[in-house]
Point group: C2
Chain length 94, copies 2
């Protein structure tokens, strides 16, 4: 990990079989934020968890939000934290 670059965590419920969702989300974020993320960590959890954190701060929590993030929304939330001036292209203009 490049020193000082943010760490994004995706904690997912293994019993709910959300690994593929978590893996897909990780790859989408790493595709969009290739040079802005230090790492994306996939963390097996339980109890219906699907939480996304940047440097320990919650960006999305399924328990709080009552569902999963729409990917464009999630990219905007991540952008606002790690690259606030960045234009996300069509994600910002739909």
């Amino acid at each position: 990990m490049t020193a000082g670059q943010p760490r994004l965590e995706i904690e997912y419920c293994t019993r709910c079989r959300w690994l593929l969702r978590a893996g897909w989300t990780a790859q989408e974020l790493l595709t969009t934020f290739t040079t802005e993320l230090g790492e994306v960590a996939l963390i097996p959890g339980t109890g219906g968890v699907f939480d996304i954190r940047i440097d320990g701060e919650t960006v999305w929590s399924r328990a709080e939000r009552g569902g999963f993030p729409e990917l464009a929304t999630l990219k905007q939330l991540v952008r606002d934290r790690i690259a606030p001036g960045r234009d996300l292209g069509h994600t910002d203009r739909r």
Copy 2:
């Protein structure tokens, strides 16, 4: 991450476009070692890197080995470090 459980890192070269390979490897390892890994981190790198580490120790380095790990081999290498008594089923008997 569950305290004390191992962290596995996959550092991949973004310019070589190895994200999909890294993401696939991460998901395969998390499928096999569901309860034995604390997390799998995907780390963007450069310069042709494809390195796999457990708690900082190198398990596979493309530069040293001259290529990518065959997945069954990689699972055995990971098993030997984090769950030495574990039978990997058909992976061990091919």
